[in-house]
């Protein structure tokens, strides 16, 4: 039995269906992420799990028990808020021990648990500081410790890293993974940042317009997106309007107007003439000045239209013969490498026949 079960939950605000018949299972000890663009309903779903809002229909069960009649303060579920919501009139120690005092634990127990929590987030020396005396990253850790200290069954995290700068965010991601492994508490993490979701989660549920679109492990989600929305939302992807020429056993033959035919991985249930979109990740597209790519089944020539140098990689936007843009990613592993193309260069693009995905309309 899953620890958290969401069964057919729907929540409407006026005409807007914020959460539309969502069902999910989250296993004990899992780092589970709700990922989606802003307004997709992920925060509404989180608030219903926490108990700040109630579903119009459907059930939320924790360890098999319906939460419907349990108010937020009685649920063994704690939340780390986006703004941290630390109590400004309390010290770090008072903030962290707040849930322990609310649970009427003994003084000795409070001291022990507070001590452990402070150690876990490396804030022992800041115990008597006030939140306004700490940095954003430190406050973040106070909020985490406060959420974890009373050992909830579930910790909800509402975009907790959103307010941190990029470098600190990466450090916090690593801390978060380690902390979750250490405490073994189920995390439900809400974010719109796909990179964060991929880096942190055991499983990700992608939400769009109130619905769950796909639930999968990060690598599966990235490599085998089930819909165009998921493919587009997670990472970058090149897309071409395509038509099935011949669905044969081992592969799919597609026609892309203005470019010609390509070979793509097979897809069940398509027949010749079906229309759709062929999508391929930029890092799967190889780029070269020479004709060496002709060994690949799918290869085209184009002109470099834009070049984004990002340090570790360079992104080339190449205009193909049919006018479509294709992005290719090259790692800059060798300094001053020979194949640095300039805008306007004619280049060859190619990808393997088993790369890319066809989305049937």
């Amino acid at each position: 039995m899953a620890q958290l079960e969401i069964r057919n939950v729907t929540r409407c605000f006026g005409d807007l269906i914020a959460v539309d018949n969502v069902s999910l299972n989250v296993e004990a000890g899992e780092f589970f992420t709700l990922l989606g663009p802003s307004g997709c309903g992920k925060t509404t779903l989180l608030r219903m799990i926490a108990g700040f809002d109630l579903p119009d229909s459907g059930q939320i069960l924790l360890d098999g028990k319906d939460l419907a009649n349990i108010p937020a303060e009685k649920r063994p579920i704690h939340t780390v808020f986006q703004s941290y919501a630390l109590f400004p009139h309390m010290t770090v120690a008072e903030n962290i021990s707040f849930p322990l005092r609310m649970a009427r634990r003994s003084k000795a127990e409070i001291n022990k648990m507070l001590h452990v929590a402070l150690e876990q987030v490396h804030l022992t020396d800041k115990a008597s500081a006030y939140p306004h005396e700490l940095s954003g990253g430190q406050n973040q850790r106070v909020a985490l410790a406060r959420g974890l200290v009373n050992r909830p069954l579930l910790l909800l995290l509402d975009e907790p890293l959103g307010a941190l700068d990029a470098k600190l965010r990466q450090e916090m991601q690593i801390d978060l993974i380690n902390l979750q492994r250490e405490v073994g508490i189920t995390f439900v993490f809400v974010t719109h940042a796909q990179v964060e979701a991929l880096a942190l989660s055991h499983r990700i549920a992608v939400m769009d317009q109130g619905k769950i679109v796909q639930v999968d492990e990060p690598a599966k989600l990235y490599s085998f997106p089930k819909t165009r929305f998921v493919a587009d939302f997670i990472g970058h992807i090149n897309q071409f309007e395509a038509q099935v020429v011949k669905p044969s056993h081992g592969h799919l033959c597609l026609a892309i107007s203005g470019l010609g035919e390509i070979i793509a991985p097979p897809l069940e249930g398509v027949v010749a003439g079906d229309k759709g979109v062929f999508a391929i990740r930029p890092e799967q597209v190889r780029i070269s000045a020479h004709s060496e790519l002709t060994e690949l089944k799918n290869h085209f020539s184009g002109v470099v239209h834009d070049l984004l140098y990002r340090g570790e990689v360079s992104l080339y936007k190449v205009k193909l013969a049919n006018g479509a843009m294709n992005e290719a990613l090259l790692p800059n592993s060798a300094p001053g490498r020979a194949e640095l193309f300039e805008v306007g260069d004619t280049v060859n693009l190619g990808w393997r026949h088993d790369a890319g995905i066809f989305f049937h309309d």
């Binding site: 937020a72 939340t79 703004s83 919501a85 109590f87 400004p88 849930p99 406060r146």
Partner: protein
């Protein structure tokens, strides 16, 4: 570059003086100077028909020169200290009643939808639109012996065999009017404090296991302390010096410091003693303000 920067600072400094000068001058002339005059007057003898006795006079039998007599007089008779203590308790009672009445109201306004808040604040300050004395005299009618309220109270008392009471010209009448007049001064600072509270703090407290009562006492109340302190100061200090309300609604025994001071200047024409009483009142107010700042200071840093 340096030159223009220099000019800029000079212009800025000039603007600062021009803007800050007039109000500063106003305060200096109309507050500091009279205060000094008051302190000096308290060491003088009263003039025969009001005012002050001369510092030097040809006739050695007339009062003249400087003296500590007024201060000795103040401490020689307990009656003045008693009036101070009575005034202090009146101010304290008014402040507490105002706080108890204003807090739920301020909370209600702060939690209302934004579009309604301004209207509600307007209603709180609306009584200021009519004259202070008229509002106090209105209480004379409300509390007078022929009023509905008086008759209701006395009928009720009669049921239990008690003698009728006079609501008007009593400490009760003074207190009720004091509360009525000063309530907005408590509501407004409390509201402006409560309105700024981050609602996510209450969500967090609830999420971490606090029930409604705990959320109020552990989060809302401590965070509103700066508002409570400033509201209390705005009520307590004016009530301490108020003379019009006890004059109009109080009995002969309900004299407060304000009445005492007024009496020295207008009734008995003893300006030096009136000045001494005023100085004592100022010292008492400053002492209380200092105490409040000490109590509120270390809790106010997060506000």
């Amino acid at each position: 570059m340096t030159d223009s920067g220099h000019k800029h600072t000079r212009a800025a400094r000039l603007a600062k003086y021009l803007m800050g000068g007039p109000p500063l001058l106003f305060l200096l002339l109309l507050f500091a100077v009279p205060s000094v005059i008051m302190v000096l007057a308290s060491f003088r003898y009263p003039g025969e028909f009001g005012g002050l006795a001369p510092l030097t006079a040809a006739d050695p039998n007339t009062l003249q020169g400087v003296t500590l007599e007024t201060y000795q007089f103040f401490f020689s008779d307990l009656i003045y200290i008693k009036v101070f203590i009575k005034s202090f308790f009146m101010a304290l009672a008014t402040t507490l009643i105002c706080l108890i009445m204003a807090y739920p109201l301020a909370l209600l306004i702060a939690l209302s939808p934004k579009k309604n808040r301004n209207l509600m604040v307007l209603m709180v300050i609306l009584p200021f639109a009519s004259n202070f004395l008229i509002r106090v005299y209105a209480w004379m009618i409300i509390l007078g012996p022929q009023s509905v309220l008086s008759q209701l109270v006395n009928n009720f008392l009669h049921l239990f065999g008690n003698a009728p009471v006079h609501l008007l010209f009593s400490p009760f009448a003074v207190l009720i009017a004091m509360v009525y007049v000063h309530l907005p001064f408590m509501v407004l600072p409390l509201y402006s404090n409560l309105e700024k509270h981050d609602p996510s703090l209450l969500d967090a407290a609830q999420d971490l296991g606090a029930n409604g009562w705990q959320r109020f006492w552990r989060v809302t109340f401590p965070l509103s302390l700066p508002g409570i302190f400033s509201g209390s100061a705005l009520v307590f200090i004016p009530v301490l010096g108020m003379f019009a309300i006890p004059d109009i609604l109080g009995g002969t025994g309900d004299m407060l410091i304000g009445n005492l001071i007024k009496e020295q200047f207008i009734g008995t024409r003893d300006w030096p003693f009136g000045s001494t009483l005023s100085i004592m009142l100022t010292i008492a107010v400053l002492l209380i303000a200092w105490l409040a700042a000490k109590l509120g200071g270390h809790r106010g840093h997060y506000a």
